[in-house]
């Protein structure tokens, strides 16, 4: 298969003007041109006039190239970076409510421990767990808990940042 045609997940980090309507421009661009949004987070940066959006999307090389170009073309987009193309760290967070029985309670707790999740709330029949980590880790934990009875999952959506190069200060 042609490498160009392989669909891959990409994490796009973009700095935008912190104005009303910017989110609609980005979301409208994706829906209008038929691109996927897997997740999207947005929050202000240290500079109150700028917001940072992290968009997780899927597509082959051609589609990702178009998405990046189209995003860059938005007047309110200050910078657009495809983090997938470089070393980066990404984090997702999920709050998971798991139904428990006396038989499964210990197992749920053990899985939470393995994934370094925190118990936020506990009742006789339910644990509410908080897990943070790379997207894959969060998915793995949800996968393991599924057979034990998940009541509800709320995910924050991915955020990501580029890694600093090693030895940057010595070269």
């Amino acid at each position: 298969m042609d490498v160009e045609n392989v669909e891959r997940e990409h994490i796009i980090s973009m700095r935008v003007e912190n104005r009303s309507g910017v989110l609609a421009r980005v979301a409208g661009l994706f829906s209008g041109r038929g691109y996927n949004i897997e997740s999207l987070t947005v929050a202000p940066t240290l500079d109150a006039t700028i917001s940072l959006m992290t968009i997780v999307t899927k597509g082959d090389a051609r589609i990702i190239e178009q998405i990046l170009k189209q995003l860059n073309k938005l007047v309110d987009a200050i910078s657009v970076v495809d983090l997938t193309e470089r070393a980066h760290i990404d984090r997702d967070m999920a709050i998971i409510k798991v139904t428990t029985t006396p038989e499964t309670r210990a197992e749920v707790f053990r899985i939470a421990d393995i994934f370094r999740a925190r118990v936020m709330d506990s009742t006789n029949t339910m644990y509410t767990l908080e897990v943070t980590g790379p997207g894959r880790k969060v998915e793995a934990m949800i996968y393991q808990l599924r057979s034990l009875g998940i009541e509800e999952v709320i995910r924050a959506g991915r955020i990501a940042v580029a890694r600093e190069p090693y030895g940057a200060d010595t070269t």
Binding site: V16, A24, G28, G32, R62, Q66, N72, V75
Partner: protein
């Protein structure tokens, strides 16, 4: 200087060099119209419908290269101008549309004549603004004009709530624009220009495929210089017509769905395609997987999203930049590196091109005892007016394609047509916009009996403002292009394409105070055109033409560029799908 919002609006337009705005008032823009009424620097052309205002602004912009301006009210005023916005967005026309909005404190309350102007126009503008505070008005207008006219041009909408037009602020028009997210000039890549020059030197069968981008970039001279220095034939897109002289020996005319046989065969068999300000639209490429299968492609465009947009079309040398600047450098590079006259290397190519043209020239037949052929009307119109260097606006459909084929243009900005969106109703108001900009010039509107009805209310505006547009209706009593497709692909079932109930166009013109003329036989054609040319004011010419004539050549949708229908297939309207297959391969030394 303290001014109210309406005064700031006018002062800002004056700073932008705006001399005319097209528009229609309503409740929330009354203050602005009142201020316009009390001055004479900016003329107001009152249209009969907001769509007319939008297309007039487009026609003005296309003909002059300066931004066209429209002003309409909130709600229905705004929704009526959505079509011109979408049209201008597709065809990269710099217009700035000002819409009224309900007072800021009422926004979101479903107030009278409220619509979400920003939300509705977002996908069909290059950018849009809601001005919430009169203090931001001047700066926003400055930014709107900057965005509309730079980079790849396009429509910008500025939404002005009623209270913003009334409140006062210190007027200070900014000298510069500071938009950190907007960089209209990407520069260009010198190494790619060198590579492009090398490819051009080596090509045996090169072709220039030039589109509207070269018109907007004012690059007609540069296109000509490139073609002439390297002896390269030129294909033009519908939007590019006029940017290269139709009479020039290097011109092959228009390519695409209804392009000339030679233009399409040339791009299909080329070994090098130099795409200049064109975007590989589906009406040009046909089946993308078979588009110029033997060619290396150089693509010069200012819009990065246009480059490598079409999945199946590989671009070998993408050059991001302003067409005029890139072509200047490219021609310079060629002057340095070109070894001898490229005429010899390309002689076999030119022999082939000439052979194609001899085999299948653009042609029609007209005898005296049959109905008028639509092509004959365009041909005669061209012959009788070309000396006056007219501006030609068209609507959309068969007449548009015949005008593109038979009205030969020598200069850019003479051709006003709706390409991307294909907006019926565009032509007449666009012609009026151009006429408003150039009162002394001949402006023709070639339209159809269907298209003209989509904005005929502007006859009143043309008469009132003395805009002497000469309207040519190619009247075949059908939505002709729809009927043609029904002939070819729907076994001749004319579903909703026959236009019964047409008005008497001569009486219609007279009812508005314009002059109406009619031609029903070939011998009338010259006389009607001459009479129109000698009549002051707007004239509507109704040409009753053959109702069954179809546009050829035609590449059926989804076909490749060498698979052209050249005439009505036998048994038209029954099972007519066979095509006249041209030779696939051309062997050239």
């Amino acid at each position: 200087m303290m001014l109210n919002g309406s005064q700031i609006f006018i002062e800002s337009l004056k700073r932008e060099g705006v001399d005319v705005i097209f528009g229609l008032p309503g409740g929330v823009v009354l203050k602005i119209f009142d201020a316009l009424h009390q001055q004479s620097d900016v003329k107001v052309v009152l249209t009969r419908h907001e769509q007319g205002a939008g297309h007039m602004a487009e026609g003005y912009a296309k003909a002059t290269g300066r931004p066209g301006v429209a002003l309409v009210t909130s709600g229905p005023g705004m929704t009526n101008i959505v079509t011109p916005l979408a049209d201008a967005y597709m065809d990269s026309v710099p217009i700035v549309v000002f819409t009224g909005q309900v007072p800021t404190q009422l926004i979101g309350n479903d107030a009278f004549q409220e619509a979400d102007n920003i939300g509705i126009s977002r996908p069909c503008t290059k950018h849009n603004f809601l001005v919430r505070d009169v203090k931001d008005l001047a700066r926003t207008i400055r930014e709107a004009f900057h965005i509309a006219t730079t980079g790849r041009p396009g429509p910008v909408l500025v939404d002005i709530p009623k209270d913003v037009s009334i409140n006062t602020a210190e007027f200070d028009y900014p000298e510069t624009v500071n938009l950190r997210g907007y960089d209209p000039d990407p520069g260009d890549d010198k190494t790619l220009i060198t590579r492009a020059a090398e490819a051009i030197c080596q090509a045996k069968r090169p072709i220039i495929y030039v589109g509207g981008g070269a018109v907007f970039s004012n690059a007609a001279d540069e296109v000509k210089a490139l073609a002439e220095i390297a002896h390269i034939p030129v294909d033009m897109t519908l939007m590019g017509l006029g940017v290269f002289p139709a009479s020039h020996p290097l011109s092959l005319g228009m390519l695409g769905m209804h392009g000339s046989y030679t233009a399409n065969m040339a791009i299909h068999n080329a070994d090098l395609v130099i795409a200049v300000g064109s975007r590989f639209d589906d009406r040009v490429t046909g089946k993308t997987s078979e588009f110029c299968p033997k060619a290396k492609i150089i693509h010069i465009d200012i819009d990065p999203t246009s480059i490598r947009k079409i999945r199946d079309i590989e671009v070998h040398i993408p050059i991001l930049g302003d067409v005029k600047a890139v072509l200047t450098e490219l021609t310079q590079a060629l002057k340095v590196s070109i070894d001898g006259n490229k005429k010899d290397l390309r002689e076999p190519w030119w022999n082939q091109l000439h052979e194609w043209t001899e085999q299948h020239p653009l042609t029609y037949s007209q005898s005296d005892d049959e109905a008028i052929k639509p092509q004959y009307v365009i041909d005669r119109l061209y012959q009788l007016t070309t000396e006056k260097d007219p501006i030609v606006a068209t609507d959309v459909g068969q007449h548009q394609m015949w005008a593109a084929q038979y009205f030969k243009l020598e200069h850019p900005r003479r051709w006003l047509t709706s390409g991307g969106l294909g907006t019926m109703g565009f032509g007449f108001p666009a012609a009026m916009g151009a006429q408003e900009a150039y009162p002394g010039r001949l402006v023709l509107c070639v339209t159809g009996d269907g298209s003209f009805q989509m904005n005929l209310q502007e006859l009143a505006t043309a008469v009132l403002y003395k805009l002497p547009v000469k309207i040519v209706i190619i009247n075949n009593h059908y939505h002709g292009m729809v009927r043609q497709w029904q002939d070819l692909f729907y076994e001749g079932r004319y579903a909703s394409s026959h236009l019964s109930g047409l008005p008497d166009y001569v009486k219609l013109a007279e009812a508005y105070g314009a002059v109406g003329l009619r031609a029903t036989s070939p011998s009338d054609v010259d006389q009607v055109i001459q009479e129109a040319l000698h009549t002051d004011g707007p004239v509507l010419m109704d040409f009753e033409v053959s109702r069954s004539e179809n546009v050829y050549p035609m590449i059926p949708a989804g076909g490749a560029n060498h698979e052209m229908l050249l005439e009505d297939p036998p048994h038209l309207g029954q099972a007519a799908t066979s095509s006249v297959e041209a030779p696939e391969t051309v062997t050239l030394s």
